[in-house]
């Protein structure tokens, strides 16, 4: 297990390094000089050169990278070109709103998707199954910006049940939560379509496994077979999806934040891209990557703990 963890962490470092490399290269590949973007079209060449030097853009890419990584080790992601604020501060301010949204959406996704999946698997071919089958198609194929807009229009603009714009303040939790509901639901809709289908399929597969028949032959209670025996094995593949889910939620927040006018990492990134504010872009992308990688490692580890078979094949792999 320890060996496996080390391997995964090593892999994570490599991915982060490649991300940084790509971002450094992007500065040069993306059209538009960042210094000019910051200063506007009428800046003098001297001023531009000065700013470039301040940004460190005159140094060779290798040095830029080195600076970035050595900064990173000290928890320093550089300074915002425009406001002169440390990037970590900007991210620190934006992160809570984004995390709140992502976590809320994932809680909604699981809380809605898993019970629905179980109910559907309980009676395959039943009314609920047929009903969700059609709906799930729509949910899965509708992009976040569409679901966001529709929810916004119906529940905030037309019915005025919920506030429309902004993220609110932590200090007023009720208001804050009420502002989370719509964007989180917009993000969860996809999973309400997806999770029941997957769970239904894996449940039915597990329920037709020989060991389920054996359990019946020994007179196990049907509830035990379904909720203890089959569910555990059917949920395993879903845990593997958790990493995907984090990725989806994070990218989804970008749209949801824009449409609902929320502050957060997404909005921060978009304005930074607008301004060619490279340190901020780099910082935000890095944060995304970090969360994504951690989520995947976490999903993998819990899968391993829950499925004894994986532990075994792992031993074989590292052994040979």
């Amino acid at each position: 297990m320890a060996g496996y963890l080390l391997k995964r962490l090593g892999g994570a470092v490599v991915v982060l390094f490649l991300t940084a490399l790509l971002l450094a290269a992007a500065v040069h590949l993306v059209p538009g000089d960042p210094a000019r973007a910051v200063l506007g079209a009428h800046a003098t060449p001297e001023l531009i050169a000065q700013i470039r030097a301040k940004m460190g853009l005159d140094k060779p890419v290798a040095v830029q990278l080195w600076d970035f990584f050595s900064g990173l080790l000290h928890g320093d992601l550089g300074t915002d070109f425009v406001g002169g604020v440390p990037v970590t501060t900007l991210i620190g301010e934006a992160l809570p709103d984004t995390l709140a949204l992502a976590v809320a959406s994932m809680i909604l996704a699981v809380a809605g998707g898993v019970p629905l999946g179980i109910a559907v698997a309980r009676r395959p071919g039943g009314i609920l199954d047929r009903l969700t089958h059609g709906l799930s198609m729509i949910f899965v194929s509708a992009p976040v910006y569409v679901t966001s807009l529709i929810l916004l229009l119906i529940f905030a603009v037309k019915l005025r049940y919920l506030p429309a714009m902004g993220a609110g303040q932590f200090s007023d939790p009720v208001n804050y939560l009420s502002r989370l509901i719509l964007p989180a639901t917009a993000l969860a809709l996809f999973w309400w379509g997806y999770l029941p289908r997957i769970l239904r399929a894996t449940m039915l597969e597990v329920l037709s496994a020989p060991y389920i028949r054996s359990a019946r032959a020994f007179g196990f209670r049907e509830n035990v077979i379904f909720y203890r025996y089959a569910l555990r094995n059917a949920v395993l593949p879903i845990i593997a999806i958790f990493g995907l889910m984090v990725g989806y939620s994070l990218t989804g927040t970008v749209f949801a934040e824009t449409i609902f006018g929320r502050s957060g990492l997404g909005t921060l990134a978009l304005s930074a891209i607008d301004q060619r504010n490279w340190p901020v872009i780099r910082g935000v992308v890095f944060t995304y990557a970090l969360f994504f990688i951690c989520a995947n490692i976490l999903a993998d580890l819990s899968y391993r703990v829950l499925d004894p078979r994986v532990r075994l094949s792992e031993e074989f792999e590292t052994g040979v």
Binding site: A209, P210, Y211, I212, R213, S214, A215, R216, A217, F218, G219, F220, R221, E222, V224, R228, Y229, R232, N233, L236, L306, D307, P308, R309, L312, G319, V320
Partner: protein, 681 residues
């Protein structure tokens, strides 16, 4: 044994519904099981054995429907019980174990927890859990799981297939059902493990009086284990009788044919019977007797009227021939049908030539063997798998050598290394007097062929049979005038020419295997390695393959290495037998000599455990081999068999025996074979 049946099935009809078609899987089934009785169910694949056994617990798949019938268990008709009442019967009154022990335990739960769940399912609420633990440990220990108390915390994958089947039996033991249904419980296991499981089942009956319904396509194990046997054909019971009477004196033409298909030592020198054709499709059954198309005794009435089960002493037969009112159609000159049975065809097994065709010296194959100095240092902690470890073997031209041993003993690897399908780690192979290194690869490939274990996997799925058969010619650039025609090749293996246009997936298992053989024969090879040539085939398809191989040997003097765990097959047609254990040959010699006086304790056990239909042959003592074959990664020191040998002594643990002669051409690797031999006689 009381005479009142425990389980009484009457007039049971079961159909499967699939894509609008109705398959008549079971029709008019009657079956009784008395307390403590072991009832065998036999028949070819697809005759409804598993459907019947699942019906006994009403555990049928969703698309099955019980159309009619009664199933009385302890005074209640199971077919008319509610789900909850039925659940209470399952496990405690009637339990079932299945063929694939690898898949019949839930992989994500500890075995203790699975047994606990079974136990809890049948306890009144509030029963103390501590009682369970003691009982479970006792049950596991009694089926031979060592360190039972600790092993309860292990997951299924930490046990071997044999162990898992024991765990299933232990679970049954815990619930003490009055009937245990076992559907092919040993088909996935080696002879040694199969014998252990059969022994357990016998004990279950002796100690707890459990009645057993034992389903198998292997007539041998059924003959060994069962008191009474039911023969099924196309979803019907066609014969029922006491086991001894049924195998000694099969009445129904189908039973008789099945029994005559089975190779054995006593059948040596006779052609095996085959049953032409196949089980008819269950969605379009012919009127009349369902066996009529394949029956050598069929008369016109057989195609018109379906026979009922005609009562006989000890059981019944579903055949018009035994109906006194119709029997005259079969009387020839006043003689009874039995007397008319065709005499078996005598055949000879051609003697091998004097010269050696293939010779191997000190052959080794180690998987994961480290190369170079650094590699060896690094891999010190993980030794290689010694799949074959020092084999010396000579096969003469025209000889049939049978190679037996448990799975994991290295049989298939030896065959493949001999054919250079895998590179040897060390050792030398001589073929037709030339060192293999000096023989051009292409020429060698042309002169040796392999018949693979899985016929479908070894035939490319997108080629038609005709193209598959001529492919060897294209590969080797054989001139057209030297090629045999596709028709001739098909005819050689007894297949009709219209098969040439089919794709492999359109063939039955037996046909695919024959196409594999025809392909191997296309280049007129000198030497053929046949890996489990009959595994997975029905008795009749298997006997056809054996007849074919024997004919080829007789006609062309082909040389065969037959790798199998079916010892009866070797006894039937091999000149010599070699017994392998953990990568080494422990005994080799002429078939007759080895079967008469096996010198090595391991071969003696293997031979004694081989299931026999023949009542005489069955009277021998069965020498169980305890435990399981150790890992070839860490073979035991000294004699590799010492961990399981009942004769092992101090010397065996430290000193490895080498092959020494125990008779004419009969070699054995055991320090004490003389000793053991004297004890026996």
């Amino acid at each position: 044994m009381s005479d009142k049946p425990l389980l009484d099935i009457k007039g049971l009809d079961v159909s499967y519904h699939l894509d609008g078609d109705v398959f008549a899987a079971l029709r008019d089934i009657g079956l009784t099981v008395r307390p403590g009785e072991i009832v065998g169910v036999v028949g070819e694949s697809g005759c409804g054995k598993s459907t019947l056994s699942a019906s006994l617990l009403r555990l049928l798949p969703g698309n099955a429907e019980i159309d009619r019938g009664e199933a009385w268990l302890k005074g209640r008709d199971m077919l008319r019980l509610g789900e909850e009442e039925l659940r209470r019967l399952r496990g405690r009154d009637i339990a079932m174990i299945f063929q694939d022990p690898m898949q019949s335990l839930n992989p994500t739960f500890r075995i203790g927890s699975q047994m606990a769940e079974a136990w809890r399912s049948h306890q009144a609420r509030g029963t103390k859990f501590t009682d369970f633990r003691d009982e479970a440990v006792k049950a596991l220990a009694s089926v031979g799981i060592p360190d039972a108390a600790e092993r309860m915390a292990s997951h299924p994958h930490e046990f071997s297939g044999g162990m898992r089947q024991r765990i299933s039996i232990a679970t049954a033991l815990l619930l003490q059902p009055s009937i245990l249904v076992a559907d092919e419980p040993t088909s996935a296991l080696d002879v040694t493990l199969e014998a252990q499981i059969l022994e357990l089942l016998k004990q279950l009956r002796e100690k707890h009086g459990t009645a057993i319904v034992y389903v198998s396509h292997d007539l041998g194990t059924v003959a060994e284990l069962c008191d009474r046997v039911v023969v099924m054909y196309a979803g019907r019971v066609v014969e029922e009788n006491d086991a001894v009477a049924l195998f000694d004196n099969p009445a129904h033409p189908y039973t008789r044919a099945l029994v005559d298909c089975v190779p054995s030592r006593t059948r040596r020198g006779e052609a095996l019977a085959t049953i032409p054709g196949r089980v008819p499709s269950l969605s379009a059954l012919p009127p009349g007797c369902k066996f009529a198309q394949r029956c050598t005794m069929a008369r016109s009435i057989c195609g018109e009227e379906e026979p009922g089960l005609i009562p006989q002493a000890g059981g019944g037969v579903r055949c018009h021939m035994f109906d006194p009112a119709k029997a005259e159609a079969w009387l020839i000159g006043g003689r009874t049908p039995e007397a008319v049975a065709a005499p078996s065809l005598k055949v000879t097994i051609r003697e091998p030539e004097r010269d050696a065709l293939i010779e191997v010296r000190d052959l080794r194959k180690h998987f994961g063997a480290a190369k170079g100095f650094v590699g060896r240092l690094l891999s010190a902690a993980r030794p290689p798998v010694r799949a074959i470890d020092g084999i010396n073997l000579t096969i003469r031209r025209g000889e049939v050598l049978g190679l037996v041993g448990e799975s994991g003993s290295g049989k298939t690897t030896l065959g493949e290394v001999m054919l250079r399908l895998q590179a040897a780690t060390s050792g030398e192979i001589t073929f037709a007097g030339k060192k293999l290194r000096q023989l051009p690869e292409k020429e060698f490939r042309r002169r040796v062929q392999m018949i693979f274990q899985d016929p479908h996997a070894s035939l490319s799925p997108r080629q038609r049979v005709a193209s598959l058969l001529t492919e060897p010619y294209r590969i080797h650039g054989i001139a057209a005038e030297e090629q045999q025609s596709v028709d001739a090749l098909l005819a050689m293996v007894g297949l009709s020419a219209d098969l040439a246009a089919k794709f492999p997936h359109q063939l039955s298992g037996g046909q695919a295997r024959r196409v594999g053989i025809a392909r191997a024969l296309a280049l007129k090879p000198d030497f053929i390695v046949a890996d489990e040539p009959t595994a997975g085939l029905d008795v009749s398809a298997a006997s056809a393959i054996l007849n074919l191989m024997r004919d080829l040997q007789q006609e062309f003097g082909l040389t065969f290495l037959i790798i199998t765990h079916n010892i009866n097959l070797i006894a039937y047609m091999a000149h010599r037998i070699a017994v392998m254990y953990l990568g080494q040959i422990v005994e080799i010699g002429p078939t007759e000599a080895v079967f008469d006086r096996p010198a090595h304790p391991y071969s003696a056990s293997l031979l004694s455990l081989t299931s026999q239909i023949d009542t005489q042959e069955r009277k021998r003592a069965r020498l169980l081999v305890p435990g399981e074959i150790p890992s070839p990664r860490n073979p035991p020191a000294g004699c590799r068999f010492h961990t399981r040998c009942t004769h092992a002594s101090e010397r065996c643990r430290s000193e490895a025996p080498t092959l020494e002669t125990a008779g004419h051409g009969h070699d054995v690797a055991c320090h004490f074979w003389r000793h053991i031999d004297q004890e026996k006689s």
